[in-house]
């Protein structure tokens, strides 16, 4: 086979991976080609490992890589010297028809948009209407999400999104220049001393800085939480603006990460996407299992360590409460603070008797309701503290 053909196949494979959504840039493809050249004569195993080392850099991507490799170099017969053969047919453009996920409605868009111009348009009409809006907002603040009409729900959505969240800070180990006080900075002092003929007149100091803690939101979207989960998702969207290290997860029977989906500018689209992503929308609840998935799979990467973790769930666990208790203990040891938001707590008669809730409660630092706007504001306040 001509050399140019081999090169084209190698580059084509890199581009195929890119098409499948892996971050494969030209630099990586170049490395891949150089690697293939170094390893020549190539056998399939060398080619496979050369690609794995140079084209991908996340264990999650291995699966996609494997499948693409299989397809792309499929027809490579053992007899071929280079082990690189044009596959029998060009790879199909997709894996058949993508299964369309069940339509889930996370409605905010149309109605919210209809309400917004009204608010803006109300302005020139004088103070009266402003007051009207304000008092309406006041009613909305204390009305349970469950009891909201569709229109009110849309309005609340806007109010939640406008909530401003601040995250708590922690002291870092790294020292930064500090004009006032702290530890003596010999390096900078002596640098300054050069200007004054070696006499250290101007002393420099440095001290430890601070950095915002990560925030992890874990939202229950099971059936029993349906009246609240939309509002909580709005809250999660607002929280995304609070810092770089914010992660959001949804769970019913299994855990889904929704951080990336929520990190867009268009909230309506983000929420629709989340609806599509979360497969078990409004199904049962397995809090313990989901937490374990979070702790096993994400404790390292989502930086649960030292984080503020907010769990939103009614605690009606279908699984084993003992499992939930153990996972909550793990979480509590790892996180800086565990906040449990339970909409049922909004009812004055509520007592945390559900087995799941009772099991989890000892590991919870702050237990809040989250059934209306006022309580979400309270939550925002707790997070900053």
């Amino acid at each position: 086979m001509a050399e140019a053909d081999v090169l084209a196949r190698l580059v084509g494979f890199g581009r195929e991976l890119r098409r499948l959504g892996l971050p494969v840039g030209t630099g990586r493809i170049l490395t891949f080609c150089r690697a293939a050249a170094v390893l020549a004569p190539l056998d399939p195993a060398s080619l496979y490992w050369a690609g794995r080392a140079s084209l991908i850099s996340r264990p999650e991507d291995v699966e996609v890589y494997d499948r693409a490799f299989e397809r792309w170099f499929a027809a490579a017969g053992p007899g071929e010297g280079a082990g690189l053969v044009v596959p029998g047919s060009p790879p199909p453009d997709g894996d058949g028809v993508r299964e369309e996920p069940p339509e889930v409605e996370v409605e905010v868009g149309g109605r919210a948009a209809a309400w917004r111009p009204a608010e803006e348009g109300a302005e020139p009409e004088g103070e009266a209407s402003v007051r009207l809006v304000a008092s309406a907002a006041e009613v909305l603040r204390t009305k349970s999400f469950e009891a909201l009409t569709e229109e009110e729900r849309a309005r609340t959505a806007w109010l939640i999104r406008d909530l401003e969240l601040r995250l708590p800070e922690r002291r870092t180990r790294r020292l930064r220049p500090d004009p006032r006080s702290g530890r003596f900075d010999v390096r900078r002092t002596l640098r300054r001393a050069v200007r004054t003929h070696g006499e250290p007149f101007h002393r420099a100091w440095r001290s430890r800085g601070s950095r915002t803690r990560p925030l992890v939101l874990v939202l229950d979207v099971s059936g029993s939480m349906a009246p609240y989960s939309r509002a909580l998702l709005q809250f999660a969207f607002a929280a995304m603006a609070a810092g770089r290290k914010v992660e959001a997860f949804c769970f019913g029977t299994r855990l889904t990460r929704v951080t990336r989906t929520l990190r867009t500018r268009d909230p309506d689209r983000a929420l629709r996407e989340v609806g599509r992503l979360v497969e078990d929308w409004e199904g049962g609840t397995r809090i313990g299992e989901s937490l374990r998935a979070l702790l096993d799979g994400w404790s390292q990467r989502a930086a649960l360590r030292g984080a503020v973790v907010v769990l939103c769930s009614d605690g009606l666990e279908r699984g084993d409460p003992e499992l939930l208790r153990r996972q909550m203990e793990r979480l509590h040891r790892l996180a800086h603070r565990v906040v449990w938001v339970n909409p049922l707590k909004g009812s004055p008669r509520y007592e945390p008797l559900a087995r799941g809730m009772a099991a989890a409660l000892p590991s919870v630092d702050v237990f809040l309701p989250g059934h209306n706007l006022a309580s979400l504001e309270e939550l925002a306040g707790v997070l900053a503290g």
Partner: protein, 289 residues
């Protein structure tokens, strides 16, 4: 490739095909090798073995939170400079500022050492995920140029870049720019047979039977619902501990007493103790059959 695997084995390191390929490519293409994997799968060991294999000096930079350029690259020995300056003054000698910034006042840190050593060194940047993002950006700069300019002395350039091994426990995701520059390999827990081989290689005092039992028991432990899955290092420790006690066969009593060598989490230990019988039975089962 087989040759490299064989050479690594002589250095008491068992690498599978993928890791061997990655190491080979890193050395031939002069690219840093980024190794990720759970704790205790032998990431750091790769650098050590590579250094002794190539007959190079190993320069290790252990990362930690708050590490900065003065701890990684170089720093002036200020106290010595001060004393020298005072001494010059006292002797009324012709004082030249340049004299104060000579090589004898320079404290060499790992990165500068690696640049100076060039191809004569293997640079190990250990647990990069512990350092903060700013340091990662700084390291990226060094890794792409292998040159640094010290204002008072001038540029220091590596004639040929050293071999670089970067390890990460993945407590956070490293930046893409850095990953792009590196070759990547994810080290997984070894297969059962390989782990037996590793024990035999690294813990020569352990009998074959015991090695098998230990490897099987550890493999079973990893499948259990433990918070911290034991790594290869723990397996070797455990095998060594058992051999030291003069044990030939893994049984419930000894296993319970030495469990601390493999499981370092209280809850995990309790879980394993509760299912110890099952564990021992399975570990020994392969021998009879």
């Amino acid at each position: 490739m087989e040759e490299l695997q064989e050479a690594l084995r002589r250095e008491h390191y068992l690498a599978d095909r993928g890791l061997a390929t990655a190491i080979f490519l890193a050395v031939s293409l002069d690219k840093p090798l980024l190794l990720e994997g759970e704790a205790g799968v032998g990431k750091t060991e790769v650098a050590k073995v590579l250094a002794s294999l190539l007959g190079r000096r190993l320069i290790r930079l252990q990362c930690y939170e708050g590490i900065d350029a003065s701890q990684a690259l170089y720093e002036w020995n200020y106290s010595r400079q001060l004393i020298a300056a005072r001494a010059m003054e006292a002797e009324r000698a012709e004082a030249h500022v340049e004299d104060l910034f000579g090589p004898e006042f320079l404290l060499e840190r790992p990165l500068l050492a690696a640049i100076r050593a060039g191809a004569g060194a293997v640079l190990l940047v250990d647990e990069l995920d512990r350092a903060d993002d700013e340091f990662e950006a700084f390291l990226l700069e060094i890794l792409s140029e292998f040159a640094v300019t010290i204002p008072e002395i001038g540029p220091v350039v590596a004639p040929e870049p050293p071999a670089v091994v970067v390890t990460s426990n993945r407590t956070r995701e490293l930046h893409d720019a850095l990953k792009r520059r590196c070759l990547y390999h994810w080290i997984d827990h070894p297969s059962l047979e390989r782990e037996v081989e590793i024990i035999e290689l690294r813990a020569p005092g352990v009998s074959r039977t015991l090695a098998r039992e230990v490897a099987r028991a550890v493999a079973r432990l990893r499948e259990m619902d433990v918070a911290k899955r034991p790594g290869v290092a723990e397996t070797i420790d455990w095998a060594n501990a058992l051999a030291f006690l003069g044990v030939e066969h893994l049984d419930g009593e000894v296993a319970a007493a030495t469990l601390g060598a493999v499981l370092k989490d209280h809850e995990d230990q309790e879980l394993a103790r509760a299912r110890l019988g099952e564990l021992i039975e399975e570990a020994g089962a392969g021998e009879d059959g």
